[in-house]
């Protein structure tokens, strides 16, 4: 007979966040943040700008130290868990003029295997596979500056895949991506969802409905919603718009999530 406890034990916990607090200066940016992500789950992190999404992401990556509370990934500290995480930043932050090919960017995902000199044949093979996985194998040698917004974003995903990650973290992957190329991009995400645990910060309802198992609403504190969100909830949170400006409508003050319907 399997008890609920046994079921829990079967699904490994990937991210375990307990009572996490963080501040840059005096005011707390994040307070009493607790949530967990189990293996194979894909969690969408939403919330207003300035609500602490990016900060939470940076803490997950071990780039910021939490002031209080604990955050373990794969049971390890964030810094130690890094090698098992694939991170996809927003592709807009990069210098378009930088003379570099798609393949060379993807190879950066293998940097931890490189000591000096050239990348090994095995690393190059993994990088090519990763490009193939996002449907860009044929443009491997194309310079970054020649790629479309959607292609650039997929190159960033391929780079994260080249890390052979167990957990994929994405930061607003469809921001600045053409709607016309987005479909292909979303297909890529749907495929990836079957293979690994995903945590994606997003403003995009398409992503939430396509790949989200549940939603973490971050605004100073966090609240978790299970999916599918009811139509009313969506309307409440996103004021009925597809590509949402969650913020303006539901500007929760001090973690007030009255607009969100909780489970």
């Amino acid at each position: 007979m399997s008890t609920p406890d046994n079921e829990l034990a079967e699904k490994r916990i990937v991210v375990q966040c307990d009572d996490l607090c963080f501040r840059y200066g005096k005011p707390w940016v994040l307070e009493e943040v607790s949530f967990e992500v189990t293996e194979g789950e894909s969690l969408c992190v939403i919330g207003p700008n300035g609500g602490g999404k990016s900060t939470l992401l940076k803490i997950l990556l071990g780039l910021l130290d939490p002031g209080r509370g604990s955050l373990r990934i794969f049971g390890e500290s964030c810094e130690k868990a890094r090698s098992r995480i694939g991170y996809v930043p927003q592709s807009m932050q990069f210098d378009r003029m930088f003379p570099i090919s798609a393949l060379d960017i993807v190879l950066m995902g293998r940097l931890d295997r490189l000591r000096v000199g050239r990348f090994s044949r095995e690393c190059r093979a993994v990088a090519m596979e990763s490009l193939d996985e996002v449907g860009l194998a044929d443009i491997a040698q194309r310079p970054f500056s020649d790629l479309s917004g959607g292609q650039r974003q997929r190159v960033m995903i391929a780079r994260a895949l080249a890390c052979e990650p167990e957990l994929l973290l994405l930061d607003e992957p469809t921001a600045n991506v053409d709607l016309s190329v987005e479909e292909q991009f979303l297909e890529t995400l749907v495929e990836l969802r079957k293979k690994m645990t995903i945590l994606v910060v997003t403003h995009d309802l398409d992503i939430v409905s396509l790949i989200g198992d549940s939603v973490l609403c971050v605004n100073h504190r966090v609240h978790r919603h299970s999916l599918p969100l009811s139509g009313d909830t969506i309307k409440e949170i996103y004021s009925g718009r597809r590509r949402l400006e969650h913020d303006r409508r539901t500007r929760h003050v001090q973690g007030d999530h009255s607009a969100c319907q909780h489970d």
Binding site: P99, L111, D146
Partner: protein, 277 residues
Amino acid sequence: MTEFLEAIQNVPLIRYALLAGIVSSLTFGVVGTFVVTRRIGYIAAAIAHSILGGIGASIYFSRVYELAWLTPMVGAVIAALLSAGVIGWVSLRTSEREDTIIGAIWAFGMAAGLLFIHYAPGKAVNLESYIFGDILLTSKSDVIATVVLAAIILTLVGLFYHKLVAVCFDEEFARLRGISSDFYYLLLLMITAISMVLLVRVAGIILSLALLVLPAATASRFSRHMWVVMLIALGLALVYNAGGLAVSFALDTPTGPFIVLVASVVYGLSFLLKGRR
């Protein structure tokens, strides 16, 4: 031209100048590409100006305390590495604005250099050759030093090429992959610093930046692959240096300004040709 070829065979000075120019060109193309893509041209310029401080100090102390080993080249290398270290440390570890510290190092180096040279005993120092460059003053020991420094730079770049590129392109991601971004950024600044010493030898303090940046900037108009840009930049620097030396020898014009003028014109033309992207 035949005169120049004859001079190469007969006049050691010309031979040294040509050799130093060729060897240092190899580094300019490679390092210049990093400097252009990482957009740290002004740091390179500050380092170049701080080199005068090192040259001045080495002349002063070597004459006052009779330190034969303290050549201007040694002083230049020390000053360049020190400034690169200070600029890197300030921009990575403190909240001071980077352009402020760049300006401070820039002026401090020049001021210190001018004062040291003013108070240095013995025969007057030919300041102009440092400020505007005079590759014809290259001695045999200079050539050896150039070869050693260039070898150090090229070896470091060869070993850490992918890590340097990664840190230039996306510091954060490199750090997440276990690369010490700070270390490789500082390494890049150090490599740039040593290149500036070689450049100052060829083109002088004021013109050195142009010779580092222009070949790479011109090359980056024609390719979007880092190593191709490096190769083109390297070729351009080679042509500028060797060609500039030959032409200025034939026409009896100062070498540095002539080279920089040609490099600027070629860059301008490349911009007109391929600028609209």
